[in-house]
Amino acid sequence: VRTTYRIPASATDVFETETIIESPRITVPKITIATSGDSLTTQPADVAESFTFSRSMTRSFVGVVMAVHLGIQPLIRDERANASWVCVERSNETTPRRSRDEVIEESLRNILCCMPAHELEDGMTWPLGIGLAAWFEDFGETGLAKLASVAVTNKSNLESLSHALRWIGRIDNPDSVQARLRLLIGLLNAPSGTVKDGAALGLVELGSPLAIAPLENAARTETNTSLQRDLEQAAEYLKQSS
């Protein structure tokens, strides 16, 4: 015996938004539940006989709360309560599932490209800093490893990377000082002078005396005299301030 229930629109609002899966570029088309003349109700939906109305409401409510709190799609996907999730899952079947690594790299690229190259000036990269701080909070040390590989392989705008490394030094997160220090010291050997300089500036912002010796070593091996002077100056500054 199949039972028909009328589900109030307020309970299904959460499913009527555009659903973005893992990346802003992969957008599942908006799924709209056809409404009857009365805007407050949806089309009657068939559900299994064992599924009670109150339980459906509870699940939808939790879904709404989670969506509001987390800002992401609700974790509850009850195909019986709302047929639209079946459509979402089916439309995703053709999309190859991306690894976490790819997600981190793509989000990093999006942040590094968030400002046009001609706007990248000293002291004017606030949007980049905000994006990078939020990205770092999401991905932590795994993200730092990805940032290192992007910086070493020159896969991004070098000036943008230089500013990003300064922001890495500025982030106020005492728990991650060691990881950030390792990243910045490692990048003192990057092939690009701009990236090396960014790493040195990040170390100055970080303010750790542990960076003095690596900065001095990097200065000794540097062939570009102007950059060599900057690396020495960074080491000197850290000596004085410690």
């Binding site: 509870t58 699940r59 939790v62 709360v65 989670m66 709190h69 987390l70 609700p74 974790l75 509850i76 000036e121 000293d122 002291g123 004017m124 990269t125 606030w126 800093g129 905000i130 990078l132 701080a133 909070e137 000036e159 230089s162 300064r166 922001w167 500025r170 982030i171 106020d172 997160n173 005492p174 002078g193 701009t194 300089d197 500036l201 100055v204 912002e205 970080l206 303010g207 570009n224 102007s226 950059l227 900057d230 100056q233 960074a234 500054y237 301030s241």
Partner: protein, 214 residues
Amino acid sequence: VPYLLRSINKRKWDWSAGNPPWLIGDAIPAAPFGDVSPSADSELSVWWVPDDKSNVHRVVTAIAAGRQHPDKFDYALIEEGALRELGFVLQQVAESCPDPQASEQWHHNLKQLTADDLRRLVDLIKRTAELDRVQGPQVKKLLTAALDARRLDETKVNSKLLEVLRSQPKRGAQVTVGPSPSVRSAPSNRRRILTMARASLTSTLRACARFLRR
């Protein structure tokens, strides 16, 4: 010898013969021209600095106060005499700036600039100018000190910068400022509490979701 100070990005002036490899002979790469980009009236802003360079930090502070956040400050000190010898027209004129006194005393414009002038200027800076840097935390200290001494007109200081400098618990202290007022920039005790509360709320919601899925 007095100088004229121009804000630059030192990495744009790193070129030499054969570096980058595509640079042939005594050609000048385009990058440094970004640092001498004139106004719509073909004028270029420079600041006069005496022989003893006593006002460099004051000028750096005045320029940095127009930025969004403290960052390193690179500058070139060009000999005034060399500029005049090359026929550059220099005029003292105050500009709108957070440090009006400094602007009145030391701000100048190079006037009636042509494309050839810019090339000669880039060449002159590369050959003779002193390129130097003030580190980011030092710029922050200078800005804080200038605000404390009321040398800066706060209505002309960049509002974001003002927010960053005011968010310090005590002016002049060595504090790293997070990029946005959030859990990250909260004092450590409060940050720990906020992080714990958020983590417990998230885990509770996840547990609820798992339970309901079952």
